[in-house]
Subunit: 398 residues, 2 copies
């Protein structure tokens, strides 16, 4: 039913255009300002950071999204526009206005997102000079993916086509992440487009649901940012029959798939990461217990450092579980590392250490726990902790 | 009123003896087995890990402490005796029994503590051979401090004398920490002795209070361990009048001071640490908000990495505050780094970056925030995050 599109991007769905420019907001001569545009007005949904310190673009976009409609998004990297009081709000508003003027829209139809250093004002002269230079094209999605990167080492994008009887539509998505990624919120910038016609209440509910099983199950370093947001624009140009709560299953599945793909890409490209860690918790008493346990384990610095060293130190996994808040009965606990059982009903199981070490040296580490207390199940993604993470983050603003 | 004792240790208070041996539990030829003994039975209190995965010695000692009395403690490093089911409990029990036989006590009067690798059984033959070799002496406190070390780079001990009118008593204490240190529990091994005569209910309450302002405000890496415990033994040999809730103020103050000293020593000696970070939060709406905020900031990997690089990236401090759960009003927030204001009422303050960088290169970093919302205040301690931390923790079990 789903068909991943070769070289897909956020401009794969019909009617979406994107364009970028190097406005010199970043120090290096890189793309750092981008616009996404739909030829027709979109039904729009958003999920935002839960951090109490919210960036100006997050505050503005939350407001603009209240009406459930939007037609363009402007994003800059290199500056977060956060912790700047009234000036920050005024700057975010001006960004929306500049785009509205360029594209003949109302400023309320423009969403704004920023990522970068906190506490430094946006260089508005550069943004004023940059926006007119942006040329919107059908091929602009890939450059958009590059322009929103910060410490990412590669762009993260995908598109998928859903084809069911008369109904055929496309979903495209792009994300940036790398550092400051943590459960409990949207956790990074992500922009999703679709040419499907979707009911606005269902669109918001579907986005929240997809974020909960993907970005909210992702942790690079336990941090959250004032700027995290996920936007979803649906322009209806696919000509499908309206998708809503009664017939939205395929749309939800495709959306989940796209978000999980991007969440894993972000974990894989975590700052300094050398491998992707996937933690699955089964048999939890409650679903929430499984979520908490999986996220706590994948966030544990000691587990992450052990995985960096390909060290099968499963005691750290069990200990992280023990402080997760999930109900645990040690004597019922089963733990698997790379499909090899290392703990059975609370007792250590002998395993070939050398063979295990070799299997942990791959790019993917799988950790599985069965709490044997109920039916709750969840999967979380993260990455190992390397000396490179510290290096990147001790030199960032300089 | 307090007089720190030069070269003080847990055997500084009257009637306490200690002894150690290298039982070859650790791979290297280091001290790894230690006994603390009081000539007379003590009133005893304990605070234990909140991790749901509890080591066998923690389970046994919690039980033995129910009666509020103890006379000896046996500790080993190199092996945690955790996650081993019934065998672990049997081994911890045998350790207590071996000490009881040696010292002519009841096994219930012996507390047990272990630290080291999880999931590996205690080498009981080595412990059986080691215990008879331990010679208890008045000077044994310093070697005891060495024997309980794991990844610590130096022993951590202190003693202080309280002298008020007729009442004069001594408190001695020793701790080990370094990794797996986090708020929310006792967080490491700590043993406190006093020759004061203290009411048992007051002793337990005073210990809990002291731990809350010291070890529970300490974070090295956000992890907790199945083995964390703090024991306090009071043998009454100082001949003071019984200390209880009516007259316990000086005792509480001295106990707090000793615990804060050790907490700071542990932070300073955190795995890979190059500097001590102290975070003070004032003006919080509630006391609990101040605690949560201070602990979240001091635990933040991004704040810790920035401090390692002497990078005045205060945006990370504010962001950690924003996800701490404490109530925050961005427009009221004041932030100070090394006594220089970097944020005033939610707006960045210009400061000399080069001068600030130099001041952050010292061994102590002070971060202060005023939320300007109330009277809540708390201080937390931690350390910076260095590539060395990752190195230590990716090679531990091998």
């Amino acid at each position: 039913m789903f068909k991943p599109l070769y070289s897909g991007s956020i401009t794969s769905p019909q009617g979406f255009l994107a364009g970028t420019v190097s406005a010199q907001i970043k120090k290096r001569n890189e793309l750092d300002l981008a616009i996404l545009y739909s030829k027709v007005s979109c039904t729009a949904a958003g999920v935002f950071t839960t951090n109490q310190i919210k960036s100006a673009p997050v505050i503005l976009s939350q407001k603009n999204l209240l009406k459930g409609q939007a037609q363009a998004i402007i994003v800059n990297s290199g500056c977060a526009n956060a912790c700047l009081g009234e000036q920050g709000i005024a700057d975010a508003r001006e960004m929306a206005k500049l785009v509205a003027t360029k594209l003949d829209l109302s400023p309320e139809d423009v969403l704004v997102a920023s990522t970068g250093v906190i506490g430094v004002p946006l260089p508005m002269d550069k943004i004023r000079a940059g926006i007119p230079k942006i040329r919107l094209t059908k091929e602009g999605g890939h450059d958009f993916a590059k322009a929103i990167m910060s410490t990412d080492t590669k762009p993260k994008e995908i598109a998928t086509q859903v084809d069911m009887r008369e109904n055929k539509f496309t979903i495209g998505a792009v994300a940036k992440g790398a550092g400051m990624i943590h459960p409990d919120l949207a956790t990074m910038l992500c922009f999703i487009t679709t040419d499907a016609l979707v009911n606005v209440q269902f669109l918001q509910a579907a986005l929240k649901k997809a974020v909960d099983v993907s970005f909210n199950m992702l942790s690079v370093d336990g941090e959250t940012s004032p700027n995290d947001c996920v936007f979803l624009l649906a322009n209806g140009l696919a000509g499908n029959e309206m998708i809503d709560f009664s017939n939205g299953e395929a749309f939800q599945e495709a959306l989940d798939e796209v978000c999980i793909y991007l969440a894993k890409s972000i974990a894989q490209d975590g700052e300094g990461a050398t491998k992707l860690i996937q933690v699955t918790v089964e048999g939890a008493k409650y679903e929430t217990d499984a979520h908490q346990a999986a996220r706590t384990i994948v966030s544990s610095p000691l587990v992450k450092a052990a995985m960096y060293g390909s060290d099968p130190n499963w005691g750290r996994i069990v200990t992280a579980l023990g402080r997760s808040g999930a109900e645990v009965a040690e004597e019922k606990l089963d733990v698997y590392l790379s499909d090899v059982q290392v703990m059975k009903q609370g007792h250590p199981v002998h395993f070939g250490k050398e063979k295990m070490r070799i299997s942990l040296q791959g790019n993917n580490v799988f950790i599985k726990l069965n709490l044997n207390l109920g039916e709750g199940k969840a999967t979380a993604w993260g990455c190992d902790l390397s000396p490179e993470y510290v290096k990147i983050n001790s030199e960032y603003t300089t």
